[in-house]
Assembly symmetry: C2
């Protein structure tokens, strides 16, 4: 089967990456959107326990936005015990556990644990319950650890794919090295301090020529303010060229007016 996007070029699955296990999922669309969310976070192994409407279901492919390979390689089990038999570590997502004695982790904590388990070459899985009722007590007794997302306690309702996305996103972040902030410069580069100073010299010369800085007492403060402004964020070489042009053109216009 092929979804409407014809199948995305997904990375080959790593054998010890976590398995997403949908327990008694009801809607095929949700299996498809789950595959999409898994692909977003680089997860590939999908298992289905007793899907209500059987498997495969074309509607899952339509909803997966091209995460076809995940659906094609999904495996089906009759019981949770069958689905986890080869795993070493099992997590269960559960928004409101009651009467349970069990370690509970945040999504972030669990993601770090899943990554550590994978790097020890142990197989792990995450159980997600059916849409309406969630996992039952028997399902949760199979898990080593519960995962509880930190979310608004007055509004915890997440759909299945949203719940999978949060775990997939946290899983992806455990190996991500993008800094929390950087300047995207594309084809150009961040200017050196010397290049910025060249521009300041150009600007101040032209401002002196037009008399903008004529007030001797205010002059040092005004220059300092301009320096502060241009030091506030990184400036690129390309932007400096534009600024040089802006100053030159404004000066030229003034000079032409002046000579007329």
């Amino acid at each position: 089967m092929t979804g409407r996007n014809g199948g995305a070029d997904l990375a080959p699955p790593a054998p010890f990456d976590p398995v997403v296990i949908l327990v008694r999922p009801q809607l095929a669309e949700n299996i498809g959107t789950t595959a999409r969310a898994m692909a977003n976070g680089g997860l590939f192994h999908l298992r289905l326990v007793a899907p209500r409407d059987g498997w495969p279901q074309p509607r899952a492919w339509y909803a997966s936005s091209g995460a076809d390979r995940i659906l094609e390689e999904a495996t089906v089990f009759e019981t949770v015990d069958d689905a986890i038999a080869d795993l070493h570590r099992v997590f269960a997502t559960c928004p409101r556990p009651r009467h349970i004695i069990k370690p509970v982790m945040t999504a972030r904590g669990a993601a770090a644990e899943l990554r550590a388990t994978s790097s020890r070459k142990l197989k792990s899985g995450i159980l997600f319950g059916p849409e309406r009722a969630g996992l039952d007590n028997e399902d949760m007794a199979r898990a080593d650890t519960l995962i509880r997302y930190p979310l608004n306690p007055r509004f915890m309702s997440l759909n299945l794919a949203q719940a999978v996305l949060v775990m997939a996103y946290e899983w992806y972040l455990t190996e991500d090295t993008v800094p929390e902030q950087y300047l995207m410069t594309n084809e150009t580069h961040v200017a050196t301090k010397g290049e910025v100073e060249n521009f300041m010299t150009h600007l101040l010369r032209d401002l002196d020529e037009c008399g903008f800085l004529h007030h001797e007492q205010k002059r040092p403060g005004m220059i300092r303010n301009l320096r502060h402004l241009f030091a506030r964020g990184e400036i690129t070489e390309q932007e400096l060229r534009t600024l040089h042009g802006v100053v030159s053109e404004l000066s030229r216009a003034r000079k032409i007016r002046h000579t007329k």
Copy 2:
């Protein structure tokens, strides 16, 4: 208008919490699922720029799972400039920016910045583009900073509500204090070391009686292994009572068999 869940009890909105701005959204369902994702993360201010099918739209209420108040208080603007006029800081989500010179933050970095902006009593907003095409170059030129989610570069396709959920989740986490792991004990308590030792004494006495520990050379190692097992995770008082019962019952059965 009231959604199918009759309206959830959402917390009152804080005036400087970030505004979610949907730019030219196409489907009313996506406006509803956006409101749901906002409620998950405790975000409340929603603005719509030129929604394709007009506003309000009942389908948004059906899709919001009870996040009605967010939809009822949503405001509509004709242009991005109108929608951001009262804001101090504007972020734009953008999976693949090109030919742009702009600071870029991860969702996590941006969430911290949004929280800091809010605590300085400055108003901030996050622009999300239309479903098909995303934000255009003119929209992005209005933003101070771009947000780029760390996600699988081979599969970045997120639907609108998924994109909003990631930001809402990160926003919620900036103030969340739940530890990454803890033992949920509900009605019972973690047992003290003395209580665990009482059980060990009970177990070893019964094991001695039945002869399990009769091998003098192996005895200390076997006892140590049992101690290691029971020290691996926290045990609750309730579980210790169960274990006492298990050991007593097994011993009694053996004694009865023995006397028969």
